[in-house]
């Protein structure tokens, strides 16, 4: 891969991530499953388990149907305080690119604003992504969200 190709691929990964974050930060949850292929893996797991090789997650979906179920439940079943996320992402690197499968790693910080209008750091962590192309669009085949923050404050409703 030439340097120019690498930078172009990097820009495409960043662009995908920014669209993903924009959907979550602006209450367009229904768009969220569409960033994944149907046969996908999505997981939010604390760093202490990830580092120890232990599997316990806080969210684990093994196909896009489970992502859509999560949205449906958040919209219609679960009770939680209204809130807004703002994701700040950085440090995106491509860790491999082989036969159409791109793997990336990047950092995130989520600031949450609650109903009282108070903003606080909700989570810091990293994304470990596997990205493939489908119908001319990059989509996540796997997204592992590994959070450094030890504890989830109150609850986690909106995905990261």
């Amino acid at each position: 891969m030439t340097k120019l190709e690498r930078v172009q691929l990097w820009a495409e990964m960043v662009e995908l991530q920014h669209r993903y974050v924009s959907a979550l930060d602006n209450n367009r949850l229904e768009e969220w499953p569409g960033f994944f292929v149907e046969d996908c893996h999505y997981e939010i797991i604390p760093k202490e388990n990830f580092d120890a090789g232990l599997p316990a997650p806080i969210i684990y979906c093994r196909n896009a149907g489970m992502l859509r179920d999560r949205v449906l439940s958040l919209r219609n079943a679960n009770i939680y305080e209204e809130h807004v996320y703002r994701h700040a992402t950085s440090g995106m690197v491509i860790t491999s690119s082989v036969a159409g499968l791109v793997t990336t790693e990047s950092s995130y910080v989520v600031v949450i604003t609650n109903q009282a209008g108070e903003s606080s750091v909700y989570q810091a962590g990293k994304y470990l992504d596997e990205v493939i192309q489908q119908d001319g669009e990059w989509r996540y085949r796997s997204k592992r969200v590994v959070y450094d923050t030890l504890r989830v404050s109150t609850l986690l409703a909106t995905p990261i």
Binding site: L72, A77, I79, V152
Partner: protein, 429 residues
């Protein structure tokens, strides 16, 4: 530990301080009215640390499966006192994580393996069992005097606690006169712990939640089967059929502080997954249905097909079986108005890959983002915020109050009332 720690401490100071050491008024003898002050008072909280967490109880520390090898340790808490539990060649040990020298935290890691623990401040070092082993410059240095003549190393060990294990559940107590652990758990609770911990387990990791509410509000919540179908709307929304269930709501007979709630499918189905997907997920008027209901499957692994077993062992443990998720929840108070909840997930050593995968998948149901649990901390925080003032006013906990002996129901607040009666006795209120 000496008896003196059990007695309520006299407040030494100004008359106004003494005046604040009043007793709380629980207006009803059966625990049906709880003064809101217990949820936010620093004075109550401090008394709880002395009379409960350092009192005649066994506090849950974690699972033996977290420290399987000699030298393995974990840092945790009893109440808000930092402690370390570790496995030595001679057996389990637990000590207060505070250097005998100047009071610094000795063990700064959450988990690890070590034969000895050294305080970084002045490098006093301790064996895994808490015995003081080394004091730098004890004998002086280059003609300078060291520790005094009467320094006796054995008088400066870490504060050691009684520690014991019941079927792989680790507990410790500050008090010599706390009954033996099996007696403390009691005849009503032990068979249900035996049921869950009937064969070797494997630790699957933990998730942690921090709630800005009093720890006892969580205890009320896990002793409250009445709220389950009203607060948690997941099953209702997706029309998941739940009728025809058999229930138990059983308190510990002696003090009422422990309790058991079970919900059991009555029909003998070997494949409830099929039952759920064929009958129960059919949408009704609103048209909500899960696309993939695999996380509601249940593979039979106990004789009685309980969908839920929620068992509280006062003051720091809730054992949970929901479908095939197995969790030991550890409840840690963090001041009067917050607590940490640690969900320790586990499976069995002989799990099939399919069963292990289902356990991990069903982590979606419980924990900080759980479909049927995320509302619990929302609710406890609403109570915390609602009760910040008017501490002398009280709640009204009366569901099924007229049938205190009835145990085959989930529409009851009996376990909460029994809890508060036991609490009052321990606290001397």
């Amino acid at each position: 530990m000496s008896d003196s720690t059990f007695e309520p401490r006299l407040v030494v100071g100004t008359p106004s301080n003494k005046g604040s050491q009043r007793s709380l008024l629980f207006p009803q003898p059966d625990g049906a009215a709880v003064p809101y002050e217990v949820f936010s008072s620093q004075e109550v909280y401090t008394r709880e640390q002395e009379r409960i967490f350092r009192g005649p109880v066994w506090s849950f520390l974690g699972l033996e499966a977290e420290i399987p090898n000699v030298g393995d340790f974990k840092s945790t808490f009893i109440g808000d006192t930092p402690v370390v539990v570790t496995r030595t060649a001679e057996g389990l040990a637990c000590w207060v994580n505070r250097c005998a020298h100047r009071g610094a935290i000795v063990c700064r890691l959450k988990r690890g393996n070590a034969a000895r623990h050294t305080c970084v401040y002045h490098q006093w070092s301790f064996a895994a069992n808490g015995d003081l082993q080394g004091v730098p410059f004890r004998g002086g240095h280059k003609g300078m005097v060291g520790m005094p003549e009467d320094f006796d190393r054995q008088e400066h060990n870490l504060c050691k606690l009684r520690v014991d294990s019941y079927r792989g559940l680790l507990f410790a107590t500050f008090r010599d006169e706390t009954p033996p652990l099996p007696d403390y758990l009691g005849a009503e609770m032990r068979p249900w712990l035996d049921r869950i911990f009937h064969k070797p387990i494997v630790y699957l990791g933990c998730t942690r939640q921090y709630s800005k509410s009093n720890w006892k509000l969580y205890f009320e919540n896990v002793k409250d089967p009445y709220h389950a179908s009203l607060l948690h709307l997941f099953h209702t929304t997706f029309n998941i059929f739940r009728a025809g269930m058999k229930a138990r709501s059983i308190p510990d007979a002696s003090h009422g502080l422990h309790s058991l709630i079970t919900v059991t499918k009555q029909e003998l189905e070997t494949d409830t997954a099929a039952a759920y997907s064929q009958q129960n997920l059919r949408s009704m008027d609103k048209g909500f249905a899960l696309e993939d209901s695999a996380l509601l499957n249940q593979i039979r692994e106990f004789e009685e097909m309980t969908t839920n077993q929620i068992q509280t062992i006062f003051p720091q443990l809730v054992v949970q079986q929901i479908h095939n998720t197995l969790v030991a929840r550890q409840l840690l108070p963090k001041g009067p108005s917050s607590f940490e909840l640690v969900f320790h997930f586990f499976g069995y050593a002989d799990d099939t890959p399919e069963l292990r995968e289902l356990r991990v998948l069903q982590a979606n149901l419980v924990g900080p983002a759980g479909y049927i649990s995320m509302e619990d901390t929302e609710a406890t925080e609403l109570v915390q915020r609602g009760t910040v003032r008017d501490g002398e006013k009280h709640s009204y906990i009366a569901m099924a109050r007229g049938a205190p002996e009835q145990t085959d129901t989930v529409i009851t607040e009996n376990l909460i009332r029994r809890f508060w009666v036991g609490y009052q006795k321990l606290m001397g209120y």
